[in-house]
C-alpha cells in the first residue's frame, strides 16, 4: 500500500506503475465487466442471452431488440420516459427554488424560527417517511395515484438535503450585497430572485444534478404513490419487464441499457461538477 497522497507539483516522483496496472485490472474486472455484460446481453438473440454467459454475440440484434423493448406493452417505455421526465423536471425545479428560499432566510435571519427549522431539516434527513399515512394524506388531497401528488412527495422528501447544501453556500455570499440592493429599493422577492439566486449558480448545478439522478432513479416512491401500469416511471418498467421478460434476458438487459443512458449522459457532461459539488456539501457536514 502506497498511502502517501499526492505531493506537491515541485518534484514529480515516478508513478507507481505496478500499482497502476493492478488497479487498472481490478477496475476492469470489478466495475467494467458488469456493464459490458449488460451491453453484450442486450444485443444477443433470445436463446443465447438465456445462457447468461460472458460471450460475444453470435448475431447482433441491437435494432430488433431495441424496437421490441420500445414496442412492448403498447409503447410502455415511451410513456415511462415521459412520466420520468415530467417527474424529474417538475420536482427538481420546485425543490431547488423552495429550498433556496428557505436556506436563504434561515442563513440570513437570526430569529425565533431558526431552532425549529434547523431541527426539521435534520429530521428530514434522518426520519424514514411513513408510507401509508402519506398515502392517506394524498387521498385526502385528491392527489393519490396522480403525478402532481408524486411530484410534491419527491419535493417534500428532497427538501432537507437541498436546504443543507444551499445554506452552506449562502453563508459565503457577503451580506453587503443584500444591503446594497435594499438601498436600491429592491423588495425581498426581487432581492432574492434577481440578486441572490443568480449568485447561487454553482451550488444550484450541484443540487439539480444530485437530485435529478436521485429522483430519476427513485423506485420506492413511484411504487407506493403512483401505482398502476399507465403511470409507470422508467424504474418501474424495469421491474414490470422483469416478470414479463423472465425468459428474455436480452430484452430485460436492453431495457436496463436504455434506462442507464440518461444518467450516463449526465455523467459524461457533468462528471466534474457532480464530484466537486458532492464533496462541497459533504465535507462541510
Amino acid at each position: 500500500m502506497s498511502a502517501v497522497p499526492a505531493p506537491g507539483p515541485r518534484r514529480k516522483p515516478r508513478p507507481n506503475y505496478l500499482l497502476s496496472a493492478v488497479a487498472f485490472l481490478a477496475s476492469l474486472v470489478v466495475f467494467v465487466v458488469p456493464f459490458v455484460f449488460v451491453a453484450l446481453t442486450a444485443v444477443k438473440d433470445r436463446r443465447q442471452a438465456a445462457d447468461l454467459d460472458f460471450s460475444w454475440p453470435h448475431r447482433f440484434r441491437l435494432v430488433q431488440n431495441f424496437v421490441e423493448v420500445i414496442r412492448a406493452r403498447d409503447y410502455l417505455l415511451i410513456i415511462a420516459y415521459i412520466n420520468s421526465t415530467v417527474l424529474t423536471v417538475a420536482s427538481v425545479t420546485l425543490m431547488t427554488v423552495l429550498a433556496a428560499m428557505v436556506a436563504y432566510v434561515l442563513q440570513r435571519r437570526r430569529g425565533r424560527w431558526n431552532g425549529l427549522v434547523d431541527f426539521l431539516v435534520l429530521a428530514g434527513l434522518i426520519i424514514p417517511p411513513a408510507v401509508v399515512p402519506t398515502i392517506w394524506v394524498l387521498q385526502r388531497l385528491g392527489l393519490f395515484r396522480r403525478m402532481p401528488g408524486l411530484i410534491l412527495v419527491e419535493v417534500a422528501f428532497g427538501l432537507a438535503f437541498c436546504v443543507l447544501l444551499f445554506r452552506a453556500f449562502i453563508a459565503t455570499i457577503p451580506r453587503e450585497l443584500d444591503e446594497a440592493a435594499v438601498l436600491d429599493g429592491a423588495g425581498p422577492a426581487r432581492l432574492f430572485f434577481r440578486v441572490i439566486l443568480p449568485l447561487l449558480r454553482p451550488v444550484i448545478v450541484t443540487v439539480v444534478l444530485v437530485q435529478s439522478v436521485f429522483v430519476y432513479n427513485d423506485f420506492v416512491n413511484p411504487l407506493y404513490f403512483l401505482p398502476g401500469e399507465q403511470n409507470a416511471t422508467v424504474q418501474l418498467t424495469l421491474y414490470n419487464f422483469n416478470s414479463q421478460f423472465s425468459t428474455q434476458y436480452n430484452l430485460l438487459f436492453m431495457d436496463i441499457l436504455l434506462i442507464t443512458i440518461p444518467p450516463l449522459i449526465m455523467f459524461l457532461a457533468f462528471n466534474r461538477q457532480i464530484v466537486a459539488g458532492m464533496t462541497a456539501g459533504a465535507v462541510k457536514g
Binding site: 410513456i79 423536471v89 417538475a90 426581487r190 430572485f193 403511470n231
Partner: protein, 436 residues
C-alpha cells in the same frame, strides 16, 4: 413584476404536472353512441390472451362496444393495486380477479355491482357461484374453467420406468426413489417464483377435509390450526420430506416457473406440483410434449380417501364506479362471458383444463390429458373438494415465503405451520372475524 419568476415557476410546474403521460393514447369518449370499456386482467401470458380474445369476440357480436384490455401485476402486488383502485374509485369498468377469500377481501357489498338481476346468474355452476357471492348476492362471471391443484407428471418418464400413479404418500416416495435412481429429478420446485411453492400445502386440502370434515368451519372460527391438526400439518411435512430426501431438482432455489414447465415437458423432472392451468403454457411453448403431461391428486395416507383439490375459476366483476351507458355495456360483456359463446372464446385463447362453470358449456372433444385426468376425479363422488380459500375467507399472505423456507430446509415443517397460523391470525383480525 416582482413576483414574475415565482409565477413563471408555478405555471411551469402546474403545466408539467398536469400532463401525466398516463392518458397517452387512451380516449374514453368515442362518440357516435359507441361505448369503450376498460378491462383489467392479470399480466400472465394466459390471462392476456384470454382477455384479448374475449374482447375481440364480444366486439364482433356487439360492434358498438369496444373493450380495451389492461394488465396488472399478479400476486400480492396485484391484490394491493385492486384494493387501492377500488377504494379510490378509479377501477377500470370491468376487472378480473380471484374468487373465494381474495374476492371476499374486496368488501364486495360496498365496491362491486350485484348481478342477481341478470338472467345468466341462474346458469352458473353452484360451486362457482358460492365463491363469487357474499351476503346472499352474486357479483361475478366465471373466467375460464375449474382448475386442479395437483401433481403434474411426465407420463413418458412413468412409462419408461414402469411406474404406477401413486395414491398414497408412501407409494409416491417409492416412485421418487426409482426416478432419482434413473437420474431424473423426481420433484420439480421453482422457489424463485415463490407462489409456486404452495401447492403441497394448498393442493392437499381435499385430503385434509377427507380426514377432518369440519376443518374449514373450525379453522374459520379459530378452533383448528395447521400446526395442531395432524391432517393439515401433512402438507408442510410433505414439503419438508421431498427436500430432505434430496428429491428436488438441483436448482430448486433459483429456478422460475418457466424453468419448471420446461423441465417437466422435457422429462428432466418427473413431478411438478402445480395448478393445472399451467398446461396451457406447455401447450403453447412445447406443443410436441404436451401430450406427455398428466395429472394426479396429491397423494395422502389413505388411498381410499385420496382426492383432488379444485380451484374455482377467477371472477369477472363490475365495480360500483362504473355507471350509465358503461354499466349497461359492462353487464352485456359479463353476460357474454357467462354464455356458451364466451366459453368457446376462452377455449380458443387458452387450452381448457377443467369443466366450465356455466351450464351448457362443453369442453371440446380433443381436450388435453390433464383435463381428462381432472375429469375422472370430478366424476367420482367424494373425489374432489374446493380449495380452502373458497370455503373460508382466511388465507395468510406470507404462506409462499413460509413454504419456500420449509421446502428449502430452512425451517422445520412444524415451525412453518405454526408461523403460518400466526400469519392467518393477522389476516382474520383484519377481516374482523368472530373469535380472533
Amino acid at each position: 413584476m416582482r413576483f414574475r419568476p415565482l409565477i413563471l415557476l408555478a405555471v411551469t410546474g402546474l403545466a408539467l404536472s398536469a400532463c401525466s403521460a398516463g392518458s397517452l393514447g387512451s380516449s374514453d369518449d368515442e362518440g357516435g353512441g359507441k361505448v369503450a370499456l376498460s378491462f383489467l386482467v392479470d399480466n400472465s401470458e394466459d390471462a392476456a390472451r384470454i382477455g384479448e380474445q374475449l374482447a375481440r369476440d364480444f366486439t364482433a357480436a356487439n360492434p358498438d362496444i369496444t373493450v380495451k384490455v389492461e394488465t396488472r401485476p399478479q400476486g400480492a402486488e396485484g391484490d394491493n393495486l385492486i384494493k387501492t383502485r377500488l377504494s379510490t374509485g378509479d377501477m377500470t369498468d370491468v376487472f378480473q380477479y380471484n374468487s373465494g377469500s381474495l374476492f371476499q377481501a374486496l368488501a364486495p357489498q360496498k365496491n362491486l355491482v350485484s348481478l342477481d338481476d341478470q338472467p345468466w346468474v341462474g346458469h352458473l355452476d353452484d360451486n362457482f357461484r358460492t365463491t363469487v357471492s357474499t351476503g346472499g348476492r352474486t357479483y361475478g362471471a366465471p373466467w375460464g374453467g375449474f382448475i386442479a391443484g395437483a401433481i403434474m407428471y411426465n407420463k413418458a418418464v412413468y412409462a419408461r420406468l414402469g411406474l404406477q400413479v401413486p395414491k398414497t404418500w408412501a407409494a409416491f416416495m417409492a416412485n421418487n426413489a426409482r426416478i432419482k435412481a434413473a437420474g431424473i429429478a423426481p420433484v420439480i420446485q421453482t422457489y424463485q417464483d415463490t407462489w409456486t411453492s404452495q401447492l403441497f400445502v394448498l393442493g392437499d386440502f381435499h385430503n385434509v377435509t377427507a380426514a377432518e370434515p369440519d376443518f374449514p368451519a373450525r379453522y374459520t372460527r379459530n378452533q383448528a390450526r395447521y400446526a395442531t391438526s395432524p391432517a393439515a400439518l401433512k402438507g408442510f411435512r410433505h414439503l419438508q420430506e421431498v427436500h430432505d430426501a434430496g428429491y428436488l431438482n438441483k436448482d430448486f432455489a433459483s429456478a422460475k416457473f418457466d424453468d419448471g414447465l420446461k423441465k417437466l415437458a422435457r422429462g428432466e423432472g418427473a413431478h411438478y406440483p402445480m395448478l393445472s392451468s399451467a398446461v396451457s403454457t406447455i401447450v403453447a411453448n412445447y406443443p410436441q410434449q404436451a401430450g406427455d403431461i398428466g395429472l394426479f391428486a396429491i397423494p395422502s395416507d389413505d388411498a381410499a380417501r385420496n382426492g383432488l383439490t379444485v380451484w374455482s375459476p377467477a371472477g369477472v366483476y363490475i365495480p360500483t364506479s362504473t355507471a350509465g351507458a358503461k354499466l349497461d355495456a359492462a353487464r352485456k360483456f359479463l353476460a357474454f362471458i357467462a354464455s356458451p359463446a364466451g366459453c368457446a372464446s376462452t377455449g380458443t385463447a387458452s387450452t381448457p383444463v377443467g369443466p366450465y362453470a356455466v351450464k351448457g358449456c362443453r369442453l371440446p372433444a380433443d381436450v388435453t390429458q390433464v383435463a381428462k385426468d381432472t375429469q375422472q376425479y370430478l366424476d367420482r363422488p367424494g373425489g374432489s373438494s374446493l380449495a380452502l380459500e373458497f370455503l373460508s375467507p382466511i388465507k395468510g399472505p406470507a404462506l409462499e415465503q413460509i413454504t419456500v423456507e420449509v421446502g428449502s430446509g430452512i425451517r422445520p415443517a412444524a415451525d412453518g405451520a405454526a408461523l403460518y397460523d400466526q400469519d392467518v391470525r393477522k389476516q382474520a383480525q383484519q377481516l374482523g372475524l368472530e373469535g380472533w
